[in-house]
Amino acid sequence: MDYEVCRKVWESQVPVQFTLHSNSALGDPLPFYTMLPRYSFLALAVPRVLAYFNRREDGEKIVIDQIWLEASGSPAKMYAPVGVLYDLQNLERDQILEITVKTSSPPPGFVPIDRNAMEAIFMQSIKEADYLKTKAATTNNMQKEEYAQLWRSVTNNNFDEYWTIIQKLMEEKDGKEFDHIPLRVCMKNKPFKQILISSKDKSGSLITIGDAIAQVLEDSAVADPSDFRITSHGIDVPPHTPLIFAAKNMAYPDNFVHIVVVPKL
């Protein structure tokens, strides 16, 4: 693992604006502006956002169970990394990610989630990623306190704490290379795609991000892959990047590499 790369990825943040649409007779409060780490989740930011909206003493109190979130006309996934949501909008550099907080009836299947539900989703991802990498050899030997430490590092934005635990999760067990690479490919208004893919092909050469994306796009019947940008953490990922490098250095804290595929501007 490369300390500098991991630290840069960790420290990257995006500007987010939350606007309340509550149809309140008193009108809605001014938007809430914040910088969010790319690795974080809207589910973790929402309590702070609602506390801001609920400051007016005469106003109605808005609780998490009655809201849903929207980003440019589509439901925003509260459980997806903020960086993924941001990149899916295909914005110009440093543009604000606009999230509307709505109290109208939600679109089918929208579930507002609290911190505990978010933690469960995060932990299931960690376990799945480790199953892909080491058949769960690492997570099976992790103490309860280490899981807690990892989650705490995410909720408290503590890189040092994260760094101690993430090194363990990215370690190849007994010199054995990762079986598979935890990779999720995200496209707008679609479920994320995941395929079972190794770091090397049969002849032993390294499989690249470009190879992996081509395979995923083929499955999704995308007409011409060259019309799309392959991005992660806000940058265009060189297609020749080996998957194993991405897995170790560009993974989000849930241990998955999240690649966002968007139309070229």
Binding site: D65, P75, K77, Y79, S105, P106, P108, G109, F110, V111, I113, N116, A117, E119, A120, I121, M123, Q124, K127, E128, Y131, L132, A136, H180, N189, K190, P191, F192, Q194, I195, L196
Partner: protein
């Protein structure tokens, strides 16, 4: 462990078997997964609709049950209502403990949150069962009842 190909072969006969037992199962997305739906009544009298899906998980190479419960207006029920009122899991087990085996995750075909019964122990457990003729039926006889789904006699 179950290969994806065998899953696709078996899921058809699985659904046929369920239908022959008068259970409301069908295939979705050209046979990629199977679906069941029915109505249930909560202790407070509310009628809710239940949906369960059997989907192949390529990471663990096992089938997984995905499920949700909806109110009349289509709103999914909250975690606490699901585990305490519908699944009737005792208060002695904490939410945190339940969430190590049943929790939300993005549905692979619908792209919204559904509950799933975690697949991390499935393959170990299935080693204890006889799966020469069929994998899905013995698997379902273990996992289906966990969310109170009816299992055919076999």
């Amino acid at each position: 462990m179950l290969t994806e190909q065998r899953f696709h072969e078996e899921i058809k006969s699985f659904v046929e078997r369920m239908v022959s037992e008068k259970l409301n199962w069908s295939l979705c997305e050209n046979g990629k997964y199977a679906k069941e739906s029915h109505l249930e009544q909560l202790p407070d009298g509310r009628i809710i609709s239940a949906e369960a899906h059997v989907i192949y998980n390529s990471t663990y190479q096992v089938p997984v049950i995905w499920f949700n419960y909806f109110e009349n207006n289509g709103t999914p029920l909250q975690f606490s209502t699901v585990v305490r009122d519908v699944l009737q899991i005792s208060e002695e087990e904490s939410d945190a403990s339940i969430r190590t085996r049943i929790s939300h995750l993005e549905h692979p075909f619908l792209g919204v949150l559904y509950f799933n019964i975690h697949p991390c122990n499935t393959s170990g457990l299935m080693k204890e069962l006889k799966t020469d003729d069929t994998y899905l039926l013995p698997w379902f006889s273990v996992y289906g009842p966990q969310i109170r789904l009816r299992v055919p006699t076999f």
